[in-house]
Amino acid sequence: MHLYNLTLQPPTAVTQAVVGNFSGARTQEIIISHGTRLELLRPDVQTGKLSTVITTDVFGSIRSLAAFRLTGSTKDYAILGSDSGRIVILDYDPKTTSFVKLHQETFGKSGARRIVPGQYLATDPKGRSVMIAAVEKAKLVYILNRDAASNLTISSPLEAHKNNAIIHNVVGLDVGFENPLFAALEVDYSESDQDPTGEAFNAADKMLTYYELDLGLNHVVRKWSEPTDPRANLLVQVPGGQVASSDRFDGPSGVLVCCEDHIIYRHMDRPQHRVPIPRRKHPLEDPSRGIIIVAAVMHKMKGAFFFLLQSEDGDLFKVTIDHEEDEVKALKIKYFDTVPVASNLCILKSGFLFVAAEFGNHHLYQFQKLGDDDEEPEFSSTSYPALGMANPTAPLLHAHFRPRALENLALADELESLDPIMDSKVMNVLPNSDTPQIFAACGRGSRSTFRMLRHGLDVEESVSSELPGIPNAVWTTKQRESDEFDSYIILSFVNGTLVLSIGETIEEVQDTGFLSSAPTLAVQQIGADALLQVHPHGIRHVLADRRVNEWRVPDRRTIVAATTNKRQVVVALSSAELVYFELDLDGQLNEYQDRKAMGSTVLALSVAEVPEGRQRTPYLAVGCEDQTVRIISLDPESTLETISLQALTAPPSSICITDMLDASINKAQPTMFVNIGLQNGVLLRTVLDPINGQLTDTRTRFLGTRPIKLLRVQIQQSPAILALSSRSWLNYTHQNLMHFTPLIFENLDYAWSFSAELSPEGFIGITGSMLRIFQIPKLGMKLKQDAIPLSCTPRKFISHPTNRFLYLIEGDHRVLSEDAINRQLAQLRQAGKSVDEEMLQLPSEVFGRVKALAGTWASAIRIIDPVEAKTVGIVHLDNNEAAFCLAVVPFAARGGELHLVVGTASDTLLAPRSCTSGFLRTYTFTQDGTGLELLHKTELDDVPLAMIAFQGRLVAGVGKALRVYEMGTKKLLRKVENKTFSSPIVTLNTQGSRILVGDMQDSIFYAVYKAPENRLLIFADDMQPRWTVAATMIDYCTVAASDRFGNIFVNRLDQKVSDQVDDDPTGAGILHEKGQLMGAPHKTKMLCHFHIGDLVTSIHKVSLVAGGREVLLYTGIHGTIGVLVPFVSKEDVDFISTLEQHMRTEQISLVGRDHLAWRGYYAPVKAVVDGDLCETYARLPASKQSSIAGELDRTVGEVLKKLEQLRITASGF
């Protein structure tokens, strides 16, 4: 087996975000890291929307990201810390819209290691140096400068190592133009490692250490080191330094040390200031729980600065410092607003706050005000004894605030994010859909959602109105060439034409010069200010003064097809003749003297738009009934001569020639494509050579079951094609590459572009007798998402074999269940304590839930109707139980009646794993599956983590035991058990009497159930230990599984062993076979291995296109959705692997990670080709493309076609 890995949806989680002027222009941009990808976002200051400028795969793991700017420069650079053992400086080049690697300095081994720098990055605010640090010991300082030609230079590294020191955080201090200073938060472990009494451990100090880079001596010295709060976790830079022109200080310099429950201002030889982190006054809140700051941002404005710090509950606090020159007078903190918990915060100068959420959708907020004069209580260090430092080891008195709805911020935009995908299923539940949908349980805590993903572009309908009859075509047209918007809508019916004018309202008009008594074949705004109508009996040329010049068809003939552009008109007559007209310089439409006999009925015609500054387009495409398409010249030298011919497999139904930009073919200018839609629903796309008119590079695609109609439309001021069949598709250029995506909309019979003031780039379409006007708001988004809110983190879900409902279990650790809340509140009330009702009413999806102790759980079983996209039922679990797995089981003892079995455990603790009791809750389905009725509960000794229906019984992995359960009247009855597993069982798959068991730490075991002897035996296992997360059976002997480190692998059992095990009736043979390597007697063989870079949470074997091949679809915790496609032939394998080899040498990773090493992070890549790397072939410069193609003995077109074909046939994307 050989697989091709293709990412359908790149990861959507944001692990790092920085803001800066990366393009050197005045606007600020945000660079975000998705873990393995870099993306440049540009916020539109007017609309407050974020748009993606570029996104690139770096084929490595980005761990830290920082921006810096050289003094006096206007452009920011990005620095990346990654797992490549290298520091990389990136420049965004707006001309080529790409990231350019300016410097790449190697300093250590690759991989995310303890003492190899890459985890922390800190830059000097004046852009003179950068510190890159590891989690322990290593800190390197690089000096940044510019050379005579003002190019950025980087020095060799200076070491600031400290042995045996664990580093919590590193930050660059703002010291103006004095020597650069870096602050690090360190703990030394050398003493506590030697002291058996544990005293040294308790006395271990957390040190705030300053490292000074002496620019004169080119040397780093430890300047100052003082103990600080032992629970400090984060450092924030405080502005400092003097303004060059005056002696005024920008700020006091120093750092904010964020500790558990406190914020301390700290600077060398200066008094400290300490304030508490305010906390919510929730009646059920545990007052001893510490609160830490997880994200922070500092913002400088003219002559002032402030900080926004975010606590782990999502509350933002505004921190300000009152200072006189460089002396701090007071440190103040107040509640600002509550937003989702962020991995990074970015403030833009234009007044926006970008919140890169750690889980779920990312948000862009606009500042409404800065919380300066509101009622919110402010806590100042001056109101505490000795500025809060009277007794530094004792906590300050708690400060409280009341969380409230957003007041200082307003939501401007939201970036959809699937992160984390906990579980998924691929099913086709929608009526009238020929492709399956992906259902994903996403999110964490109270912001979780259940999403349905469909391949296609989201469509926004603005108008939908009923027409008197059923039109067969619709057009819009401007009146003059210079008009900005369309003025008329023309509807053609079987026996007439209706003209509507677009104004304040849309109404019928009569005096337009159009013939209303006949159907229309084509409408065109022609010349400067004239209109043209083609109807079956002639052509009407309506001049600006409403005079009409009419050309009439010779007797007993009609026009059957027509095509027009701004200067040319071609019509085909029923006698299979072509008539050609061209506009002369006086605005007169002149017929060419000859007519061209085609010899076969013409079905479709097309000319391209007239290129800018030209008189005409030189080519006409004619599709005939004899299954050919001919290219005919319109050049004055050779008018109506046939140039080339292409044979088809079915009669054409529509043709469209368009000039579109596709950077994979030609980066500089648009390519002329001839799109041919056939009557059998197949679309052919060929490239028309503009020099000799030959057709090359034909690509085919199946669009639907109906004959195709192709229409030229405008998208983002460039031409695009709307292809209508049983589904509607849009072919458009986005970020210089061609996309072909279905629209998620009702079938259209005809459509045209529609441009009016309210929708400048809309479409008008007809379905039956309905007229619809719509827009496509999010180009480039290939998956449309519909979300249902959930109340807790989803864990797993399952479909029912007969009804359409989905059953989902959700649960959250450290959260009180509803009935526990009520119980505790009742106790409080009984004790006579007042309960703050307002705090209890806060919406949990915004503010989260009150944190409880470890071992507290809230959990529920939810019934979801995926078609209606709503929750139809929910069962909350009591007794501090949490659900971990579920299965629908047809119990044979009950005549095959379906039951839902949910595995739960109460008072579960995660580390070390324990529970007071596990349970199997057996439910019967009521009300056609919308309800559940508890039949009985079976007590267990451990936490059940996996279960599956098996031969009319249930197999469950209860802790480390694998058990088969039979239905009983009072509870489930244990029938057989196997307790030889070394760690808990996390996945189960079955076929026949074989059960594939995924062990948490020990990969996949093959077990078999032998009914005659009632034995459950392991007969094969894996040679490697693997931390299994998800697994699925590909066939009876083969399994695809993923592990916790982002690998995906395929294991296969030898066919002989498989047969031998099946032939053994009692299992006595397996029982007495000698174990191999301290395990099962047989070993599976690894067939494929690949490092995805994201933790794969589910794998499915599905077919994504109707009638297509089956592929492996996987989802990742960071929101990745990808497929692994099996190759069908040896030639394909050879071809694509050779291409991959070439690409490895061409496409150097942006973080400097070796591609082969990245994909073979934990074990060497085996039999998997990285499709994402191969697809970057389309972005290579043309010379590189052709040299690689030459090595492969193909043309560039053939290589691109092969890559596109692999993608389309496998995924349809």
Binding site: R114, V135, T197, R231, E312, F1045
Partner: protein, 87 residues
């Protein structure tokens, strides 16, 4: 050990150990070994964002909190060292 390294290795070994924290040697105790293992694992988890997300989701804590607690745990991941027998 190759012959040319045989005489120089011992003098360099100490230097190498100082340089590459976590490298084992012949007299490594079980406690030292397991402590290194834990510190390496904790650093690796923090260095791999998907793994950190995974643990944060399981535990119901913010990622920042999980990262902080892990860094804290690196100080002494396996408890105090055992008492030496000879004293």
């Amino acid at each position: 050990m190759s012959s040319e390294l045989r005489y120089t290795a011992n003098t360099q070994l100490e230097h190498l150990h100082a340089r590459y924290t976590g490298t084992g040697h012949a007299d490594l105790t079980k406690y030292e070994w397991i402590t290194h293992q834990h510190r390496d694992s904790l650093a690796s988890i923090m260095g791999h964002p998907p793994l950190l997300s995974y643990l944060a989701i399981a535990d119901g804590e913010a990622m920042g909190r999980v990262r902080f607690e892990m860094t804290e745990r690196m100080l002494q991941p396996c408890g105090p060292p055992p008492r030496k027998d000879d004293d």
